[in-house]
Amino acid sequence: MRNLKRAFVSVSVSALVAAGCATVADKTVTQEDLKIIKASFRENGQAKLDRLDQDEAQRLCSNAPPATIAKADAERVEKMNLESIKYPADGRLMGDWQQGERIAQTGVGKQYSDNPATPSGGNCYACHQLSKAEISFGTIGPSLYNYGKLRGTSVEMQRYTYGRIYNPQAYSACSNMPRFGHNGILTEQQLKDVTALLLDPKSPVNQ
């Protein structure tokens, strides 16, 4: 997957250079740049300036273009993120798919315009096709229609699915998908509910 993506990006990079609108100059964000970035934003509500302090994965995944990340760095990012996944203490990984559908439809949460007391959504439909009924879905991520029907609901698959939502970068460095558990966007119960949306045979995803 990643190799494919890299190949794709390198093609578009050469196209860019050919079009003359990109230089191959140094594209690393310097301390000086960071100062300018911090001076260009102001805190608002729950969005404080510390959101501009990148963790290592964010820093390594900010190169322009994004997938120029070195193989060793990609492995580092994946290892680091894999270690961060916390599975539920009660061992149960599947919650309520109906709640999961609500979470998938909702995009609020963590914006400075959002009430911090309101639970965040997962906004899954923004990027993925999930059910047949919802025609308004995005294509940044792959279609997940029939996700569970195609894969079954083995414990191994439940763990993989839960982990993939908890921290997608454990499986794919620099993935575009938010690390919903790792960064505290969704609660443990919400992660279980979204896992159920994907895997439960009764979920609209698997009809």
């Binding site: 439809q105 995009g107 609020v108 914006q111 315009s113 906004n123 439909y125 923004a126 025609i135 308004s136």
Partner: protein, 154 residues
């Protein structure tokens, strides 16, 4: 919600009456179609149609609704209605699932074409009705318009 809306309409009526008395607006302006303001506060499609004066109107192929079947945003949904019925006197637009279905009514004097375009608000996916009065009789056409969610932060 409904109470305050009723109240607002009532207040509006008061202002209207005052303006009448003051001679600011003429009767033609206030009662374009002779519709009472109450028609706009009816909660169901059937009530709203009755308030306009239409009792179970017949469906007509001579009324064409031009609107997308999927709208990207319910706040602005473009709708055009064309009536090819001879003697078209009025064109009325209704959205069945809006809190109050009656949206607008257009009086079409002789010499004006039976062709109106405007933009409406829709709270959710719904049938949109075009009701045409021609030679004293009501006819209708309908089309479903799906309202979709969009954007990345909602």
């Amino acid at each position: 919600m409904n109470h305050s809306r009723r109240k607002a309409i009532k207040t509006g009526g008061g202002v209207l009456a005052m303006l009448f008395a003051a001679g600011v607006i003429g009767p033609e302006m206030a009662l374009a179609q002779g519709l009472g303001e109450s028609a706009f506060s009816m909660k169901t499609l059937a009530e709203a149609m009755r308030a306009v004066g239409a009792q179970s109107p017949a469906t007509s192929d001579a009324i064409v609704i031009k609107a997308p079947s999927i709208a990207e945003n319910g706040a602005v949904v473009p709708v055009s209605i064309e009536s090819r019925l001879p003697g078209t006197e009025s064109i009325t637009l209704l959205v069945e699932k809006n809190p109050t279905p009656l949206v607008a009514s257009f009086g079409i004097p002789a010499g004006t074409e039976g062709n109106i375009s405007t933009r409406v608000k829709m709270g959710q996916t719904s049938d949109v009705y075009a009701l045409v009065k021609a030679d004293g009789k009501f006819f209708m056409a309908k089309q479903e318009i799906k309202i979709t969610l969009g954007g990345c932060g909602g």
